[in-house]
Subunit: 433 residues, 2 copies
């Protein structure tokens, strides 16, 4: 059974604090192993990569077979049913349309002194997307990572996806093709991250690495951060549903379970001012767990990390949601728009009972790569911005330098940076004489 | 003497590659020490913090004196000359005006199915700025970090600044006050980062940490990344100047030295199609080094990391600049605007000979916290975006769910995520009957 809390209870605050600081991930220290793998790939390149792939994925590769061939991708794409392809294409189109709106604009203006100021955006040249293998090899994640990169204008886009025992999800390859990925390498783990960051004889290095992965991938991303850009260190997924009593308990139960079924460490939270409704949702969850294919996983998540909180009103529910800063937030209330301005932190908001979170996972348009584990307090979901960078621009005229240069010189002197001051002074002297 | 390269030389490419991969920082492994310090602060809070401050900064603090009092800040501000204050105020005003233009807009629209999509931006609730102590305690860095945070709407803004032996730069405290910082803690090193990330009895935790620091600070920021947001792991500064022969060699020499004087590991690079001009700049650097107060530092930087590259033309100079992806790029050419579209990577561009890089350090308006060590390939300078996060919004109508829901259901089934599919199906079934 999940934990039940009521805001009116005397022990509510300490219990909530305990839940907020609960560790849902077993962060076994894989850092030393990962450091050794990265060093090995840097030192021996392709040889290390193929050896490690043989060891971890039971797959013998050569430099020539590190990447899927065009014929292999053709064959995989041809094996996908027309219905699956149509669904994937609709998703790709909607994701592309949403992310196209995110493209930021360049700016340039002239200030009162005559100085021209501004900035311009340019794309990352090459990006690598990590796609987990096995059960968690999701074509939707390929779209969600690759399409923003292409919209941003990334010229070279590659995927690293391990294929344990040589198995691959054909939909992953189709998603890669639909979203314009150039190359798909069948490598995974820390060795794939090392190859993407540092390059090998066969694999050219990239500038940015995005995408989810296991503890080894996460530790490797943390290590190569700085050498390349990374998106975020993703943790287990979570959903918080704010629901009034006027909802179908089964809908809400399914929404909670659609997070819980991801991972035993996932977290599903219901916050409602209606205690009777809360009980009905809990009963609906139990009933669905009787038949759900992934009941084993979802049941453990619900038992270990599920939370049901009863509040005095919706305003209090929003306050609690802000404490969680949830990755996914559903507002299943009569007037969801009225609550939005009070939401201080959330990765994505799903408004109204007709917007199940699963729509956002696949086809709504917004990205499904979102900040987990309360990191929505300080970070955003994946977007075109992750594949762009801004260069600031400044141009002084002699007049503008005359106007503001003396202050720059004074500050440089106060910081004991003489050459800074002199570089301004030499120019001012020309003006004055 | 710096290294001299000419693109026409047979060994140009291997020499450039060697320069690009040159390590300028002594990355001594402080990670174990930093891990122990962070664990200590997490376990013992203020007690650990005051003990570590006594040990590293030779300063005895109590929880009550961790922060500067208002009276102490008043006294420090009163000690600043009117001229220095005016210069700092002008800088603050210009930085504020530039960053105000960076504020992104919320968006909302309705698509063809009737679904409402969009996003909204919200500020980080609390941010902590690290300001180095001692020689590198720069008031300009306080402005560059604090003002974007305030423009973004950060409600609580604190500074951690070590005060070795109790010494502090009064201009740092004035800059903190001018930019609206709430509290200045006299703590530094990994222990300050730990306190900001995890909190102590006296110091409330923040959500985002920005600002430069030494190897301990950098390692600590890397470790707490994920628990809080961080800006970047900054390395030694660099400048690349593209100059034609029609420049004053002394101006260019001073611009190169204004990077070199920062740090023995800083790097100054001149790229010019005019070999005679190159020699004149080198001579001007030598001459300025005879009298420059920080000649010891600047001379070592110029000797160890300085580079002079002669190219066939300006187009080739731009190609080389793109290989470096420099933090600062000066375009001292007749028509700098013509080169800008070809610049693929740079933190900040300074256009024309009347725009010395030092203007950007203090008073131009753009931020001086910029990506170093070729990280302009994938990252941007500090901006209001670092203190904001985006929440995506989606609202389906029954009609839009009917239009796109079946595709979401199909993709969910293909990924074996049944509850995802059922959460859509349950709603579609209601529509169908």
């Amino acid at each position: 059974m999940p934990q039940f809390l009521t805001t009116a209870d005397a022990d509510f605050e300490p219990r909530l604090t305990a839940i907020l600081s609960m560790k849902r991930e077993d962060s076994s220290d894989v850092d030393a192993t990962v450091a050794a793998i990265i060093a090995d790939v840097r030192a021996r390149g392709d040889a290390a990569l193929t050896e490690l792939t043989a060891r971890f994925d039971r797959l013998d590769l050569t430099p020539g077979t590190l990447a899927f061939s065009a014929a292999e991708i053709d064959a995989a794409c041809a094996s996908v049913t027309a219905e699956d392809r149509a669904a994937l294409e609709l998703a790709a189109d909607r994701i592309r349309a949403y992310h196209a709106r995110q493209m930021p604009e360049d700016a340039q203006w002239t200030d009162a002194t005559g100085a021209t100021l501004g900035w311009r955006w340019t794309p990352v040249s090459a990006a690598g997307l990590y796609v987990p293998g096995g059960l968690a090899s999701y074509p939707s994640s390929v779209l969600m990572n690759a399409i923003p990169a292409k919209v941003a204008g990334v010229a070279r886009l590659v995927i690293a996806c391990p294929t344990p025992d040589g198995t691959v999800n054909p939909l992953v390859l189709l998603a890669a093709r639909l979203s314009g990925v150039d190359t798909v390498y069948r490598i995974g783990g820390a060795q794939a991250i090392a190859a993407l960051a540092y390059g090998t004889a066969t694999i050219a290095p990239v500038d940015k690495i995005t995408g989810p992965g296991n503890a080894f991938v996460a530790a490797a991303k943390r290590r190569v951060f700085g050498k390349v850009g990374i998106d975020m260190i993703a943790g287990p997924s979570e959903i918080l549903v704010i629901a009034d009593g006027d909802n179908d308990p089964d809908w809400i139960a399914l929404d909670l379970l659609s997070q819980a079924e991801h991972d035993e460490s996932a977290q599903a939270i219901l916050v409602t001012p209606d205690p009777v409704f809360a009980d009905r949702v809990v009963a609906a969850v139990e009933k669905r767990l009787e038949t759900l294919p992934r009941a084993a996983i979802a049941g453990i998540s619900w038992r270990d990390f599920g939370v049901v909180i009863t509040t005095r009103d919706l305003a209090e529910a929003v306050e609690i949601s802000n404490r969680f800063a949830p990755e996914h937030l559903e507002l299943c209330v009569a007037d969801p728009e009225a609550l939005v301005p009070q939401i201080a932190h959330a990765g994505a908001i799903f408004l109204g009972a007709w917007t199940p979170e699963a729509i956002g996972d696949y086809i709504g348009g917004p990205n499904h790569v979102l900040p987990t584990a309360r990191s929505a307090r300080f970070s955003s979901g994946l977007s075109v911005m992750d594949f762009l960078k801004r260069t600031t621009l400044a141009r002084m005229t002699p007049e503008s330098l005359a106007a503001i240069g003396p202050s720059a010189e004074r500050l440089a002197i106060s910081e004991s940076l003489s050459a800074h001051g002199l570089s301004v002074r030499a120019r001012l002297d020309r003006l004055n004489g």
